[in-house]
């Protein structure tokens, strides 16, 4: 038993934190949300290049496929830092979802070329067409009369180079495709967090983009959903930590009744409860990363538990952060809202806490 990160893993996390502290400041997030589409593409491109320089997107791609050959345990700290910085770019989708999904499908031709693009050309991915419910995964992708597929709520589709998309047909079952952005038409869907950039994606069903179908595609999609739950939990842990540190700093600085508001027990206890929830969601999230890295039979249970606990911890941190900041926290001028909006979206993405509680219980009963 050694439930701890290695010095190398800590150093990797630290290097990502240092970069994001410069490249992904609240000022940068503000500029990103105010920019036009071209401006956003440029800012995102610059940040992605810096992350690619660190090797972050190909971190867990096997060395045989020219990746760094690390594991989810190395990646989880990096994702936590991405959450802490409220990173708009699709690190989760590319590094934690597309990369291992494609790697597992090698030597399939479409997977090989998509993974090569990820590793060599630093392309970024969007992922869509899989939703998590208490009864398991479903696909929201619809087949229109002309045969075009329509996948709603795809994050970052407009800026992605390749899209990993799923569809489930009642007759033929699941299919998983790697679709070039050029083949897709995206229709932006307005959403609360501008940096999430949601779209409905229209895409053609083509044999040369097919990665897997039937039982293999369903298994890959289910594993991808577990990876998404675990990875999103890591983002939420980072977000919760950031919101709590912002709130604690504010509670020390803001005075009322002649004292810092953080000296009042009513305020202390709000923050303490959120801190305790974070403290216990964190090891659950790290355990899920280890279970993924080592392909534990409990990985689905462990990923769901991480997502349920991290969603609740981050939602509580967001609620408390806003209350402690008071009216200033409700303004666009204050930095807090970037983190709040990201939390509200991610706590429900890939299955909310209640959904994952049910998935956990179903597996606890059988396991």
């Amino acid at each position: 038993m050694d439930f701890a990160f290695s010095d190398e893993q800590e150093a990797l996390r630290e290097s990502v934190r240092t970069v994001l502290d410069t490249e992904c400041t609240p000022e940068a997030l503000r500029a990103f949300e105010l920019a036009d589409e071209a401006g956003r593409a440029e800012q995102s491109g610059n940040r992605w290049a810096v992350l690619a320089e660190l090797g972050a997107p190909a971190l867990i791609v096997p060395e045989a496929a020219d990746g760094l050959g690390l594991t989810d345990v190395d990646l989880v700290g990096v994702l936590e830092e991405a959450g802490r910085a409220c990173l708009p770019e699709p690190l989760l989708q590319t590094a934690a979802l597309a990369a291992p999904t494609l790697a597992a499908l090698l030597p399939d031709t479409a997977a090989t070329s998509a993974l090569a693009a990820l590793v060599r050309d630093d392309v970024s991915f969007a992922v869509g067409g899989i939703d998590v419910t208490a009864a398991g995964i479903v696909s929201p992708t619809e087949v229109s009369a002309d045969g075009t597929l329509r996948t709603p709520r795809v994050v970052g589709a407009r800026d992605a180079d390749l899209l990993l998309l799923a569809v489930r047909d009642a007759d033929s079952g699941w299919q998983l495709h790697a679709v070039p952005a050029a083949s897709c038409t995206t229709y932006a869907t307005p959403a609360l967090s501008a940096s999430r950039d949601l779209s409905t994606v229209h895409w053609p069903l083509a044999s040369d983009t097919l990665l897997a179908y039937g039982v293999a595609a369903e298994a890959a999609a289910a594993l991808l959903a577990d990876r998404a739950a675990a990875g999103t939990a890591a983002l939420l842990i980072g977000l919760a930590e950031r919101m709590l540190s912002m709130s604690a700093a504010y509670a020390k600085e803001r005075h009322q009744f002649g004292k810092p508001i953080g000296s009042f027990q009513a305020v202390k206890h709000l923050l303490a409860d959120a801190r305790v929830a974070l403290e216990f969601a964190r090891p659950a999230t790290y355990r899920a990363a280890w279970s993924l890295a080592t392909a534990q039979p409990t990985l689905s249970h462990d990923a769901s538990m991480a997502k349920a606990m991290a969603s609740d911890a981050a939602d509580l941190a967001a609620r408390v952060a806003l209350q402690v900041h008071g009216a200033i926290g409700y303004t666009w001028e204050c930095d807090l809202h970037f983190f709040l909006k990201q939390t509200w979206a991610l706590s429900r993405a890939w299955g909310d806490a209640a959904t994952h509680r049910r998935l956990v219980l179903a597996q606890a009963r059988t396991g």
Partner: protein
């Protein structure tokens, strides 16, 4: 990172499991809050001690096996899995012993630890007073040098809420030795035999009618100076080491909660329940497991040579509230049967529920713990 136990730890687990399988009494012992039950639990401690299972993490010279923290956690998992008796010696072996190993003299360790391990001497904790609960530094019980008897102290005052105080043989407590000093200074940690002249015990019936705790009156109780633990006047810092054990890693091992949560999941599987119970059962299962993971996380840091940080101040809030949540969920599943005292499922859950409700109160109320978390982990100013 590796979340599996190694071959040696698994071998230790198998040995513990085999021993427990043949030694754990098949019928539950009578309640340890009765005179008869107390002695039955004391006898169980002796049985464990004879085969060196009562204090596995202690040095061998005092009756332990010198095992590391992970073996201790493995032992605890097996202990709860076997549904073995409650530990009547817990105040001594889990709270006083770690403090004594750190602050005690060689003579004290040799004198007190072996009978503590065998159950021959059961300890209670004399901390709270009628006017000093959460505000522990406000204690008034005092100790003064005995002017008539060189090398002795004289203790006067009153302690209360001493768990197992009605039947215990010894008491560890803090007394004010310098009334002039600042209130956190001038305190001294004493070890007192309960049969000393001048000690009077008044058992206090608890919410269930049994005498789980007691008031202890000290009326000119003479105590030799080799029964001071740590330096005279350093009682607060010695007591904080005990409090660290109480709130941190040693009092409440995660096995206690994972075992109860497993039983809750089984109860739900056999009886079903409304949708709200589904959420509560799932959350209880996750919280118990999260506490276990957090313990492994902390223990791994300790094994790597780091100190237990202020993060441990979150523990007591979490395990106590998890315990309440597990038992509340069970009573909700039992519905109209929840109030029944009969042996087996209903009565056992009810008993556990009553005990769980004490958790957020003892060992420093959770409100005090929240202040500690806010001040030490989040850096908020003291009020």
């Amino acid at each position: 990172m590796d979340l599996t136990f190694n071959a040696a730890e698994e071998a230790f687990r198998a040995e513990a499991r085999a021993w427990l399988a043949t030694h754990v009494p098949t019928d539950p012992l009578p309640s340890l809050d009765t005179a008869e039950g107390f002695e039955a639990h004391r006898a169980w401690e002796r049985t464990m001690f004879e085969d060196r299972w009562s204090v596995v993490s202690w040095p061998a010279e005092y009756g332990g096996r010198d095992v590391g923290i992970f073996d201790w956690l493995v032992f605890e998992e097996e202990y709860y899995r076997a549904r073995a008796p409650k530990r009547v010696s817990q105040n001594g072996i889990f709270l006083l012993a770690p403090t004594m190993l750190e602050y005690g003299t060689e003579a004290q360790k040799a004198r007190y630890l072996p009978p503590m391990a065998s159950g021959d001497e059961i300890w209670c904790q004399g901390w709270s007073e009628p006017d000093a609960g959460s505000d522990l530094a406000g204690i008034r019980s005092r100790a003064a040098r005995d002017t008539a008897h060189d090398g002795h102290w004289v203790l006067n005052g009153q302690k209360t809420w001493a768990s197992r105080g009605a039947f215990a043989d010894w008491c560890f407590g803090i007394f004010r030795t310098d009334p002039e000093a600042e209130r956190h200074r001038g305190l001294t940690y004493f070890l007192v035999a309960m049969d000393s002249p001048g000690v009077t015990v008044r058992p206090i019936p608890q919410i269930d009618g049994e005498t789980g705790f007691a008031e202890i009156f000290f009326d000119n109780v003479e105590v030799p100076e080799d029964q001071v633990l740590g330096e005279v006047g350093a009682g607060w810092s010695v007591a904080m080491a005990t409090a660290g054990s109480e709130r941190g890693l040693s009092l409440r091992s995660p096995a206690r909660y994972t075992e109860a949560a497993d039983r809750l999941v089984q109860l739900y599987a056999t009886r079903g329940g409304p949708a709200a119970s589904t959420d509560a059962v799932a959350q209880a299962h996750m919280d118990a497991e999260a506490y276990k993971l957090h313990t492994y996380w902390t223990a791994s840091r300790v094994a790597r040579g780091h100190a237990v940080g202020a993060e441990a101040s979150c523990n007591k809030i979490f395990w106590s509230e998890t315990d309440v949540a597990i038992h509340t969920a069970a009573l909700d599943l039992l519905g109209p049967e929840a109030e029944l005292l009969e042996a087996g499922a209903p009565g056992e859950w009810l008993d556990g529920y009553l005990f769980s409700l004490a958790g957020p109160i003892y060992a420093g109320t959770n409100e005090i713990q929240r202040n500690v978390v806010a001040e030490r982990l989040l850096g908020l100013p003291r009020g």
